[in-house]
Each structure stands twice: as structure tokens, then as C-alpha cells.
Amino acid sequence: MKPKYKFVILTILFSLIAFFLLWLTKNSNIAVLNPKGLIAASERRVIVTSLLLMLLAVVPALTMLFLFAYRFRASNPKNNYNPNYSLDSRMQILWWGLPIAVILVLAVLTFKSVHQLDPFKALNSPNRPLTIQVVALNWKWLFIYPEQNIATVNFIQIPQKTPIHFELTADAPMNLFWVPQLGGQMSAMQGMSTQLNLMANEAGEYNGSASEINGKGLAGMRFVVKAASQEDFNSWAQSVKNSSKPLSLETYSKLAEPSENNPKALYSSVESDLFKSVMMKYMSGEPEKSE
């Protein structure tokens, strides 16, 4: 087969694959590229900008690859081959310069974005931030609202356009907390407290998940984040307060035992300083049996 035809066939084949894949995604939500939160939107910007910048170095490389492969093939009658020919070694300046330039620009952007999108950094907003404490358990998420003195399992309700300040810890192997449409991931680790600041720009229900392997219940650690108006949030919080099940120490230790695919649960009140005592459990000097 002539190289020309080969090239045409390949182009058609790979385009068909690409279209097929695009068609497959038509009914699904490409969460990372479809952000609904302040942070996620900025992170998408970082992703897209970086990719475009890199294409500056990659496109010439790939073009040259196929061009040279075609032009300098042994079977090409126009081939002006010379075994001792070598490009001017000053070309090295270009070969080093091009990637260095691209990477330097990327590095500056990265330095900026990593500071701007530092998960620990509080968000600017006229609205007062809401704190939610997250405890990664085997195999469910416990969310404590210290200001409202309520708690939930595998479900978060938040007011939209309000900064949410998450504090995370774990009472099980370490885990990662992720709501892709609102923003990036953050670890939850035993005996430590990490922070994550997110904000939903609009009302909606967003999927959240656990992304670090922590045992057999991993896949069931999904939760929903429901963003709605401040009024909705207040009335929801009130209704939870009025429900009947409090989260006492006893209920907590039962909850902390391994269980899979836990349904959403709501707790009308929370043992005081539960989050802190979960954290301290792994730091205290008192000899105590770990599970």
C-alpha cells in the first residue's frame, strides 16, 4: 500500500474512533469541564490554559514527525539522503529553547494558580462562610455542622454563593474528599485536620465521592451535595434539628464501625467537640487500643 493511502485510512479510522467516543458522552455530565462552583471554574481554566500552551510545543513535534517520516522515507525517489549530513548544531538552541519557554510560562502560571487556589485559603465573599466538619469513616462520610449543631451522613446541604469551609479528618484509613463540580480533592487523615474551601455558584445537586482506596466499601462512599438558597438551607437545618435522632458518643462509635453503602442519615444534635475528640484519639499519649 502506498504511504499516502495508509495515512488517509489511518486518519479516517482515528477520526471515527474520536467521533464515536464523543457520541458516547452525549448523555453524561463531564463534571470537571462543567463546573458549578467558584473553585472548580478556576481549576478548569488552569486545565484548559495549560493544555493549550503545551500544544505550542507538541503540535510542531507531531507535525514534524509525520512530515519527516513521509518525506524522508527510503522509498521516496526525491530523497536527498546523505549519511554524513547533520543539522547545524545551533539548532540545539531552538530544541532546548522551545520547551524551556513553554515550561517557564507554565511555571509562572502554576505558581500563581497554586497560591490562588490553595485549598486552605478562605474565599472572598460578602456572605459569611459556613463551616462543615468532615469525618471519613469506613465506609461513609460523616458531616458535622458545628454552628447548627446537626450532622448528616453521605449528604450535604449548603447555601449557594456562600463560602463553605470544610475541615477534614478521618477515623479510618486516609481518604480523599471530592466534589468535582465544586472543586478539587482534599485528604482526610487520622489525627490530622486539613481544610478545603469551596463555593457553589448556583443551585443544584452535585455528586461527591471518595477517591483514595480504603477497603472494600470504597465504591459505596458516594454522597450528594445539594446547593440551594440560604432560606432553603435554614429551613432544612431547622427540620433536621427537629428530627429525633441525636449523634451521641454511643451512636457515633456505632456509626464508626465498618459498614457499606450507607443511606443518607440526619442527626438532630451532635456531641460537643466530636470532631476534635475524633482527631485527638490518634494523638493522645494515653495508651489506648487502636481498632
Binding site: 493522645s284 499519649g285 494515653e286 495508651p287
Partner: protein, 191 residues
């Protein structure tokens, strides 16, 4: 062209140096672990409460002396003085045994007091770091004994001198590592 036999010594000693570098990296990781965990006593005793500086200093002096006798032995090895080599390596191994006995005593005491490696992360890293060094010393002792026997049977051939050179490198290396252990674990731990 007997190039290959001539090269052997060079290859072996270079290879042994590379091996020692890998061993050094292993110790570096153990030192790093110790540095990270030294404060994590989890309510248990700290180094200042457990270690006796004079005791550790005695261990250090014993090991330094053994390094000296080992070095001296190598001088006589190159002079082909089989008796002196054997005698000096025997002294080296006796000193090494004394060092190991002292270390064993210390470990034994700590474990009896309930401060074994299971007590806290700090003690885990202490026992592992010092114990790994002790294990190396034990290997060195075995090596010395084997080589003494070999030398008695086959004299100080060039192959045997090559073996002794590696052994002495190993022994000095362990001495060096111990100086770090003494400084970082005992000196900085008790002061």
C-alpha cells in the same frame, strides 16, 4: 593479555563501594525515620529518660578501637604477616562481640522496663536504627571468623587480601555509621 585477572580487584573494590553507598542510603532512610519519629513518644519515655551517655560512649570507644585494630591488620596483610593479621582480626572480633553484648544489654534492659519497640513510634525507630547497625556488626563478626579460617587454610593470597580489603571497608563503614548514631541518637537525645 591477563587483563581480566588484573581487573578483578579493581572491579570488586569499586563494586563494594557502590554497595556501601546503597547501604548508606538504607541507613539514611532509617535516620530520617528516627528524626521524624523521635518526638512521637505517645506518652512514653523520651530518649533523655532512657539513654545513658557514658554507656553509649563506652560502646563508641570499643568500636573505634576495633576499627583501629582492623586498620592495623590491613597494614600487616599487605606485609604478608599472617600471624599478626590473624591476631589483630581476632582482637577486632572480640571488641565487636563486646560492643554487641553491650547493645544487647541495653535492649534487654529497655524491653524489661516495658519500653520495647512496641511502646511508641519513637522507640520503634530507635530499636530499628540501632538494631540494624547491630545486625551489620553481627554479619561483620561472622565474616571476620570465616576469613580468619580461610587465611589459615590458604594464606594471604591476592584473592584473600581482596576479601580482607572489603571486610575492612565494611567495618570502617559501620564505625562511621555508629558515630552518626552516637551523635544523633544518644548525644542529641540526652542533651
Amino acid at each position: 593479555m591477563p587483563e581480566i585477572h588484573h581487573d578483578t580487584t579493581e572491579k570488586v573494590s569499586f563494586g563494594f563501594w557502590v554497595y556501601l553507598m546503597t547501604d548508606l542510603i538504607m541507613f539514611a532512610v532509617l535516620f530520617a525515620a528516627f528524626a521524624v519519629l523521635r518526638g512521637n513518644t505517645f506518652g512514653g519515655p523520651s530518649g533523655a529518660q532512657l539513654f545513658s551517655l557514658p554507656f553509649a560512649l563506652t560502646e563508641t570507644l570499643i568500636l573505634l578501637t576495633s576499627s583501629f585494630t582492623c586498620g592495623l591488620a590491613m597494614v600487616f596483610a599487605h606485609r604478608n604477616d599472617k600471624n599478626k593479621v590473624t591476631a589483630l582480626f581476632t582482637i577486632t572480633s572480640l571488641l565487636g562481640t563486646a560492643f554487641l553484648a553491650m547493645e544487647f544489654t541495653e535492649f534487654h534492659r529497655l524491653i524489661l522496663e516495658g519500653n520495647g519497640p512496641q511502646r511508641s513510634a519513637f522507640l520503634s525507630s530507635f530499636f530499628t536504627l540501632v538494631g540494624t547497625h547491630g545486625l551489620h556488626i553481627a554479619v561483620g563478626l561472622l565474616w571476620i571468623i570465616v576469613l580468619i579460617v580461610k587465611i589459615w587454610k590458604t594464606n594471604l593470597t591476592s584473592a584473600n587480601i581482596r576479601r580482607l580489603t572489603c571486610l575492612s571497608l565494611f567495618w570502617h563503614f559501620l564505625d562511621l555509621v555508629w558515630i552518626f548514631i552516637f551523635t544523633i541518637v544518644y548525644l542529641m537525645g540526652t542533651i
